[in-house]
C-alpha cells in the first residue's frame, strides 16, 4: 500500500496548475508579439488586465505549496518537487510581466516600424516561445533531454540579440529616431530575458530530478 497517495495526488495537481499557468503565460507572450507585429499595441488592454489573473494564480500556487510543506513536511524528491513548483511558477509569472512590458514598450512607439528589425525580434521571440513550450513539456514529462536542449536554444537567442543590438546602434547613427530605437532595444532585451527565464525553468527541472544545480545560462 502506498501510504502517501493523498500527498502524491496533491503534488500532481500542483504540477498541473503550474503547467496550466505556463500555457497561459506563453499565450500572453505570443499575443504580445503578434500585436507588436501589426503595430497594434494599443489593442492589448485585455492582456494587460489578464496579467492580474496570472499573478493571482501564481500566488495561489505559492499558498498551496506552502501549506503542503507545513502539513506534510516533505523531504527528498517530494520536497524538491514542491520547491520547484514554487520556483517555476514564479519564473513564469516574471515571463508574464515581461510580456506586458513588451506591450507597453510597443505602445510607446510611433509609426516607425523598421521591418527587418521587427523580423529579427519575431525570430528571437519564436525561439523563446519554443523554449518555453519545451520547458513545460520537459516539466510535465520529467524529461531531462528536452531540458538540456533548451540551453542550446538560449545560446541562439543570445547570439541573435547581440546582432540585433548592434544593428540598432548602426541605425541610431543614421536615423533621427532615438526614442523609437530605444523602445526596440527594450523589447529585444525583454525577449532575451524571457529566453533566460526559460533556461531557468530547465535548470529547475534538472534540479527536481537529480538534486543538482547546473548553470545552463
Amino acid at each position: 500500500m502506498n501510504v502517501r497517495s493523498t500527498y502524491e495526488q496533491e503534488l500532481a495537481s500542483l504540477q498541473d496548475e503550474v503547467f496550466n499557468l505556463g500555457k497561459e503565460v506563453i499565450q500572453t507572450f505570443e499575443r504580445a508579439m503578434e500585436l507588436l507585429d501589426k503595430g497594434k499595441g494599443h489593442l492589448l488592454q485585455d492582456i494587460i488586465d489578464y496579467d492580474k489573473v496570472i499573478n493571482k494564480k501564481e500566488l495561489e500556487i505559492h499558498d498551496k505549496a506552502t501549506l503542503m510543506i507545513a502539513k506534510q513536511q516533505p523531504v527528498a524528491t517530494d520536497l524538491r518537487t514542491t520547491i520547484v513548483a514554487l520556483k517555476i511558477s514564479s519564473d513564469l509569472e516574471r515571463v508574464g510581466d515581461l510580456s506586458i512590458d513588451i506591450i507597453k514598450a510597443s505602445r510607446r512607439m510611433t509609426a516607425f516600424q523598421p521591418e527587418h528589425k521587427i523580423e529579427e525580434m519575431r525570430e528571437m521571440a519564436s525561439i523563446a516561445v519554443s523554449m518555453l513550450d519545451r520547458a513545460l513539456s520537459a516539466y510535465k514529462h520529467k524529461d531531462l533531454m528536452t531540458a538540456q536542449q533548451i540551453a542550446v536554444l538560449d545560446d541562439k537567442v543570445d547570439a541573435k540579440y547581440k546582432m540585433f543590438v548592434r544593428g540598432l546602434f548602426a541605425m541610431s547613427i543614421e536615423q533621427n529616431e532615438i526614442e523609437n530605437i530605444a523602445q526596440l532595444a527594450f523589447i529585444g532585451r525583454y525577449i532575451e530575458r524571457i529566453a533566460d527565464y526559460a533556461t531557468n525553468l530547465a535548470e529547475w527541472i534538472v534540479y527536481e530530478q537529480n538534486g543538482q544545480h547546473f548553470d545552463l545560462n
Binding site: R4, V75, Q148
Partner: protein, 276 residues
C-alpha cells in the same frame, strides 16, 4: 566548449559525494569495520562499515527491527550481555579495538554513556542519581560531588528546575525531567560519547524539543549517536545520518544530503514516509 561539457554531465547524478568514510580532517570516535552480529542463527547486523566523527550528532534511522539498537548497544558492548550473541569484524573506539581481550569494558563504559528510550532513574534522590557514577569511581569529597551535581545538571539543562529540591526522589520529576536527569547522570562521569536510543519517544513535544536543544549544546563537548524514529528530529538535530535496513547500512551521508537528495531509492522511500 566548457558549457557543452557541463551539459553532458548534467544528465548524470554526480557520484562524488562523501561515502561511509568521513573526511580525513575530522577525527573519528568510532571506526566500525565489517561488523556482523548474530542472535543465535539470526543475523542482526551485516557488514557494517562506517566512521563516526567526533563532536557531531550522528543519527541512526531505519524501520523497526533493522538493528539500530543492536548497533548502538554494540558500541559500548552491551550486546555481549545477551548470551547467544556472536560478532565478527572490528569496532575501534579512539583507535582501540573494543573487542580486544585486553580492552576493559568498564573503561569503555565510563567513556561511552548511554541514554535509553524510557527514562530509568534510580529510586533515589536527584542528587544521588547524579553522583552515582562518580561515587563508584571513588569520589567521596562532598565539595567535589556538589560541583559535579551542579555542572552535570546545568549541562543537562535541568539545574534551574531542580536546584531547590536535590534531595527529593527522582520519581517525582516529569518524564522529560527524568530523561534529562538520566543525561546528567551520564555526564557526571565526563564521558566522551553519548549513545541515545530513542531518547524522546516517550516524551511530550515540549520535553522533546528541550532534549533536542540540549543535544545541540552537548555536541560542542561530546560526540552523540542517536537512534530516532522521528524523521524530522533526525533532520533537525543531526549532522550525519545512517539509514539502516535489515541489518545493513543502505546509506550514510551528511544529513542534509539524506533528506534533500538521497542516493538510494530505499532511503528516499523511507525518509519520505513511504514505508517503515
Amino acid at each position: 566548449m566548457q558549457s557543452e561539457k557541463k551539459r553532458d554531465t548534467m544528465l548524470q547524478t554526480e557520484d562524488n559525494r562523501s561515502t561511509n568514510q568521513v573526511k580525513k580532517e575530522t577525527s573519528n570516535v568510532y571506526k566500525v569495520d565489517k561488523l556482523n552480529l548474530w542472535y543465535g542463527k539470526d543475523q542482526a547486523l551485516k557488514d557494517i562499515t562506517l566512521d563516526i566523527p567526533e563532536k557531531t550528532v550522528t543519527a541512526i534511522i531505519g524501520p523497526s527491527g533493522c538493528g539500530k539498537s543492536t548497533f548502538i548497544k554494540t558500541l559500548n558492548r552491551l550486546t555481549e550481555m545477551v548470551p547467544i550473541v556472536k560478532t565478527s569484524g572490528e569496532v575501534y573506539y579512539r583507535d582501540n579495538n573494543i573487542f580486544n581481550k585486553k580492552f576493559s569494558v568498564e573503561k569503555l563504559r565510563t567513556k561511552v554513556g548511554m541514554v535509553f528510550q524510557k527514562p530509568n532513574p534510580f529510586p533515589k534522590s536527584i542528587y544521588e542519581n547524579v553522583v552515582y557514577g562518580p561515587r563508584i569511581h571513588g569520589i567521596k569529597d562532598k565539595k567535589v560531588l556538589d560541583e559535579i551535581v551542579e555542572r552535570s545538571l546545568k549541562d543537562a539543562a535541568l539545574w534551574d528546575e531542580v536546584k531547590d529540591r536535590l534531595k527529593e526522589n527522582a520519581f517525582g520529576l516529569s518524564g522529560g525531567q527524568q530523561q534529562r536527569l538520566c543525561i546528567a547522570r551520564c555526564l557526571a562521569i565526563e564521558p566522551d560519547v553519548l549513545l541515545m536510543d530513542e531518547p524522546t519517544s516517550a516524551l511530550d513535544p515540549i520535553s522533546t524539543l528541550k532534549i533536542e536543544e540540549l543535544v545541540q549544546e552537548l555536541k560542542k563537548k561530546y560526540s552523540i549517536i542517536i537512534v530516532t524514529h522521528n524523521m524530522q528530529q533526525a533532520g533537525r538535530i543531526s549532522d550525519r545520518t545512517a539509514f539502516f535496513l535489515n541489518g545493513e547500512v543502505v546509506e550514510y551521508d551528511d544529513t542534509s544530503n539524506i533528506f534533500s537528495s538521497p542516493q538510494d531509492q530505499r532511503t528516499e522511500d523511507y525518509v519520505s514516509g513511504r514505508f517503515g
